[in-house]
């Protein structure tokens, strides 16, 4: 009887335990209404199998391919949604709220928040950290005629991302990975 109760309690707790485990994979909406309005839409969905397959076709002798392969090592997924419109204000910030709300979940830390009145480009970069290792990255870039959401899942080594400088035009971001023990407070 006692065993039975324990099992029942564990069964009831299981979903809560799963929910509590931070998941760096965001649930990206379809954005089908926006896709219809957009002049260009880019949808990239690369799971671990596709990343592994891509890795086999990267030439280790080529510096760009070698850098890409280094970055892919440890990644479990790359997911991108990007929509471009032919006029300003074709999308609402509320369209992205479904994604932003997920970034308030435990585990996510806002690493960078930039607001540029000049270019009217807002960029928020979030990172999920476990055991002092970045396990997920989310980037939301909102411009007057474009918004882009990037979600990278897996062991992201920011040093390796830095090494991309000059390969894909990635700048050196002078930012540190926040430690899991002392995450940066969210705004």
């Amino acid at each position: 009887m006692r065993n039975c109760s324990l099992r029942m309690v564990l069964a009831l707790m299981a979903p809560a335990l799963v929910w509590a485990a931070p998941n760096p994979r965001l649930v990206l909406p379809e954005f089908s209404a926006l896709a219809q309005k957009a002049t260009e839409s880019v949808t990239i969905t690369l799971d671990s199998a596709l990343l592994a397959m891509a890795g086999r076709f990267l030439n280790g002798d080529d510096p760009q391919d070698a850098a890409t392969r280094e970055i892919l090592r440890g990644l479990q997924g790359i997911y991108i949604r990007s929509y471009t419109f032919d006029k300003d204000a074709a999308y609402q910030q509320s369209d992205i709220d479904a994604v932003r709300n997920q970034l308030t979940a435990p585990g996510w830390n806002r690493l960078v928040q930039t607001r540029s009145r000049k270019s009217q480009a807002d960029v928020d970069i979030y990172i999920m950290v476990a055991n002092n290792q970045a396990t997920g990255l989310a980037l939301i870039a909102s411009e007057p005629r474009q918004f882009t959401i990037v979600n990278i899942v897996g062991a992201i080594d920011l040093d390796k991302l830095h090494k991309l400088e000059g390969q894909f035009g990635v700048p050196k971001l002078d930012i540190d990975v926040p430690k899991a023990a002392a995450p940066k407070p969210k705004k």
């Binding site: 990239i44 790359i78 990007s82 928040q113 540029s116 990037v150």
Partner: protein, 127 residues
């Protein structure tokens, strides 16, 4: 503005001709190659017996090829999928880098620099 830039791009990227000397050499080389191919075809023309022999060999080879074709097709599909995945990875990293660049530009304009930046007050980073 966009159409204007595009038409200016078209004008700037009008095809250019190679040197006349190169064209002459190119034509001479390719037509000479064409001639030698025709000559080779002529001198290697086979009689009916030879043709029959090649035909049998061809049929045998076709059987072997048919067996290997399925495997080859499978491999080719795999290759195509792999190359497609590779392109998408590179595209994804390029897009990510572009957006990181946006953030970086704002951070850079805020960081103290020996050279004065135009109007840093406009940009607000929060790191």
């Amino acid at each position: 503005m966009s159409e204007d830039l595009e038409s200016r791009l078209r004008a700037a990227l009008t095809p250019v001709a190679p040197d006349d000397e190169f064209t002459q050499k190119l034509i001479a080389r390719v037509t000479a190659e064409q001639g030698s191919q025709a000559h080779a075809r002529g001198t290697h023309r086979r009689g009916p017996t030879a043709t029959a022999w090649w035909l049998s060999a061809g049929v045998a080879a076709s059987l072997l090829i048919a067996v290997g074709a399925q495997h080859h097709l499978q491999e080719r599909r795999e290759t195509e999928r792999g190359l497609e995945a590779r392109r998408e990875v590179i595209e994804a990293l390029r897009m990510t880098s572009q957006k990181l660049n946006l953030a970086y530009e704002v951070i850079k304009s805020q960081s103290p620099s020996p050279s004065p930046s135009p109007s840093p007050a406009d940009d607000k980073p929060g790191v």
